[in-house]
Amino acid sequence: MLAEIGIATLLLAFVAALYATVAALYGARTGSERLVISARNAALTTFPLLLTACVALVAALLSGRYDIAYVWTVSNPQTPTFYRITALWGSQSGSLLFWSLMLSGYSCGAILFNWKSDRRLMPYVIAFTMVTLAFFIGLKVFLENPFDRYWAVNGELVKSTFIPQGAEAIPYENLANSAQGLNPLLRHFGMIIHPPMLYLGFTGFMIPFAFAMAALASGDLSTNWIRATRRWTLVAWLFLALGLLLGGRWAYDVLGWGGYWGWDPVENAAFLPWLVGTAFLHSVLIQEKRGMLKVWNMFLVIGTFSAMIFGTFATRSGLIASVHSFARSPIGFPMFVFWSCMTLVSVVLILWRRNRGDLKDERAFANILSRESLFVLNNIIFMMLVVAIFWGSFGAPVLSELFGGTRITLGTEYFMTVTPPLFAALYILMGVAPLTAWGVTSLPRLGRALLIPVVLTLITVVLFALMGMSSPGALFAYAIVTLAGYVALYEIYRGVRTRARKEATRTMGLYANALIELFARNRRRYGGYVVHLGITVIGIGVIGSTLFQQQTQQTLSIGETLSIGGYQLRYNGLTQALAEDERQMIIADVTLLRDGNELSVLRPRTDYYLLSDNTTMPMTIAGAYSTLENDFYVLLIGWEEQTDTTATFKVYINPLINLVWWGGLILMFGTVIAAYPARETVRASVVAPAKNKVGARA
C-alpha cells in the first residue's frame, strides 16, 4: 500500500507540475487570469503530494518494507530508527525525491509570499519552477523510482514499478535477511544534516533564477525581481554554505586524514554555485543602487542555477571519479540535456532583451576607485575562481579525453597553485571595498578610512611574529585576512559611534542600544559585515590548519607515551565492545597530557560493521580534544591482535581548525540578520493586478 501511495502521488505531482507550466505560460500569453490562478493552484498541490510520497517512503523504511528496492538497499533489520529516517536521502532515488520536495517547497513559498506583490512576474515564475520540478519528478517516475518493488516471476526476481505479468508478491520479511543497510560512512551527524543543507542551498537558487527569467519574459525589468528574491537568495546561499561546512566536518571526523577539504570534483561541484551566488549577492547591489550591470546580473543568476544543475548532473552521472559520486546511472544524459536546454533558453532570453535595448545600464562607471568598480573587481575574481576550479575539476579531464584520447586529471597541486592568490585578492577587496563610496572615492579619503584597520592589522602581525610565527607567507596571509575583519569591525564601530553621538551622556548601555539600533535599521549592511567577520574567522582557521598542521605516528606499549607539539599521549589499553546495532568496536584508551597535567581521556576506535554478505567494513573514528587553539586528533591505526599490549596511533595537531566551524556559525548569524525582514521595509502587498490581464506582453 505504501508503494502504491508513493507511486500515485509522484505521478499526480508530475502531472500537476506539467499542467502548471503549460497553464501558466498559456495564461500569461492570452492574459487569462483564470488560467494563471489554476496554474498556481496546481503548483501549490505539488508540495503536499511530494510530502505524502516522502512520508510513504519514510513509513516504508520504518516498517521494514524490504520488498521496496530502495528500502532493501539502504536499511536492514539492524538499522536504528534514526538512520532509517535519514536513509530517505541515503541513496540516489530517495535523495532525488527529497530534492524535489525541497524544490517544490521553495516554489510554493515563493508563489505564496510573492503572489500579490509580484503578480506580473508570477506566471513565468510558476512556469520556470514547475518545468524544473516536472523534470526532476519525471526522472523518478520514469528512470529512478524509489517505489520500485521486487517481484517473483517464474521463480526469478524482477524489479519493477508496476506489477509484471504473472508476478507474485514477495513477503517482505523474506528479503530482510539480505537487506544491505545504510553505508556505514553515512552514519554520522554531519552526514545526516549535510545533504539536506546542500539540497536546500541548491534548490533555493531556483527562485532567483525563476524570477530573473520571469523578468526577462514579462518585460518587467525594473528591480522588482531583485527585491523579490533577495531573501530567497540569501537563504539559499546560507544553506549551501552550511552544507559545504558540514560536509567538511564530516570528512574531518569520518575520513580520518585530518583534513576537511580535498578539492574533490564533487566538493568543487557544490562550491561552484556558492561562488557564483556570492558574486551575484554583491553585484546585485550595484543594480539596486546605481542601475548598472543589468545584463551581468542576469548572467550571474543563470550561472548560479546552471552551476547548481551541473553540480547535480556531475555528481550523479558518473562523469567524474570521486569518493562522493553516485554510481553511473541512466539519469545522467537527461540531466545534461535539461541543463543545456535551460541554459540555452536563458541566454537567448537575455540576448533578446539586450538587443531590444531593455537591459541598458542607467549609469556608466565613473572612476576605478569607486565602490561599484571594486564590486565588479570582486565579481571578476569570483568568476576567475569559478573558471579555475571548473577547469581543474571538469574541463581538463573531459577535454583531454575528448581531444587527446587520454584523460588528464589535475591534482591538489593545481588547486593549491591557482586558488590562494585569488582568495587573497578577495580578502583584500573585502577589506577595501566597504570603505569606498558609490561614484568616486579619492585616494587620500580611502587612506584615512583605512588607517585604523591597517594599524590594528600591523599590531596583530607583529604579535604573531613575537609569538614565534616566522613564515613570511603565513604572516602575509594573516595580514590580509585580519584586515578584512578589522574593517568590518571598524565600520560597525563607526556606525555605533555616530548613533551614540546623538545622545548627551555616554554610557555602556547607550552604546549597546546604539549597536542594536544600528543592526535593526541597517540589517542588510551590518549583517553583511558580520558575514565578512565570519569569513575572516574561517580564513584564520584555514591558514592555521593548512600551514601549521603537525603529525606523527608511533606504536606504544601500555603505559608508554608519545610527545608532539607540547602534548603527551599515554596509551592505557585496548577494549572490545559490541554496540546495539551489532557493530564490533575496538576502543583504545589514551590519556592526553600537557606539561604533565592531564587534559582529557580520549577513546579513538575502529568500528566493524557487519555487511549483508557477512563481510565486515571497518570505520575509523578519531578521538579529538578540541580547543580554540587547536584540535588534538588521534586515530587508532593498528594494534597487536593477540596480546592487546601495543597499539599504533596516528596523531595530528590541527591549529585553529575550530575557527573554521565557529566562523561558519558567525556567517550564519550574519546572514540571518541580513535576511531578516525589517518592519519598515516590508513591501506593500497590495499591488493591484491588471484587470483580468496578467503577464502583459513586452
Binding site: A327, L377, I408, E413, K502, Q554, M617, T648
Partner: protein
C-alpha cells in the same frame, strides 16, 4: 542630527575624469587580471597534470615509468598488508596491495571490478603507500584511484612497484546495483 546613512553618499573628493581615461584603466586592469589568472592556471596545470590511465597502459608504456600519473584499478583483497617501518628514523605506516587492470570501456563498473579482481590472468601492479592511515574502504573489489609514480625496483626488469602518494577508494557496493536472493528469512528477522 541626521540618521546614519544607509550607504555612503556619492564621493565628492575628486572630480570625475574623462570616460576614455577611466575606460583605459579598466581595460589595463582587466588584461592584467586575466593575464595573471591565465598564468596561474597554466602553471598550475603543468604542476598538477597527471595522465589518468589503466594498469595495462601503465605497465605497457615505458614513458610512464618515473612519471607522476593517476591509475585506476580493482583492489585484490588477499594482497592487502598493513605494516610499520622506520623510515629516516620515523615510524611510518606502510600499506601494500595489488590492483588489477579494469578495462577502459565497461557498462557496469561494479561488474568490471568484480571480474578484474577475481581474474587470475588480469594484469596487476603492486602498490605501496607510505605514511597514510589504512583507509576504511580499502577492501576486495574496491576501485582504487592512485596518484604516484611507477618505479622498477631491483634494477632493470625488476618487479614494478607503484609508489602512491594519493589514494582514493570507492566502495564496490556503491558502484553496481545488487539484488536480494529469495532465501526465506531467519526466524525472528
Amino acid at each position: 542630527m541626521a540618521e546614519a546613512a544607509w550607504e555612503k553618499p556619492l564621493g565628492t573628493g575628486a572630480a570625475p575624469r574623462s570616460w576614455s581615461v577611466e575606460r583605459l584603466k579598466f581595460l589595463i586592469g582587466g588584461v592584467l587580471i586575466l593575464g595573471a589568472v591565465a598564468y596561474l592556471m597554466i602553471s598550475g596545470t603543468l604542476a598538477g597534470a597527471r595522465y589518468y590511465i589503466t594498469v595495462d597502459q601503465l605497465l605497457s608504456n615505458q614513458e610512464y615509468v618515473g612519471q607522476t600519473v593517476r591509475v585506476s584499478g580493482a583492489v585484490i583483497g588477499s594482497t592487502i598488508t598493513n605494516t610499520t617501518e622506520i623510515i629516516n628514523g620515523v615510524e611510518t605506516q606502510i600499506i601494500e596491495f595489488d590492483v588489477a587492470n579494469v578495462p577502459e570501456n565497461y557498462t557496469d563498473l561494479g561488474q568490471a571490478l568484480y571480474e578484474a579482481a577475481n581474474n587470475p590472468n588480469a594484469q596487476t601492479v603492486h602498490v605501496r603507500v607510505e605514511g597514510q592511515p589504512m583507509p576504511d574502504l580499502l577492501q576486495h573489489e574496491a576501485q582504487a584511484i592512485l596518484s604516484g609514480t611507477l618505479n622498477r625496483d631491483g634494477g632493470q626488469g625488476g618487479v614494478p612497484v607503484f609508489y602512491a602518494t594519493e589514494l582514493l577508494l570507492k566502495c564496490p557496493t556503491r558502484m553496481s546495483e545488487t539484488y536480494p536472493d529469495l532465501t526465506p528469512a531467519a526466524p525472528g528477522a
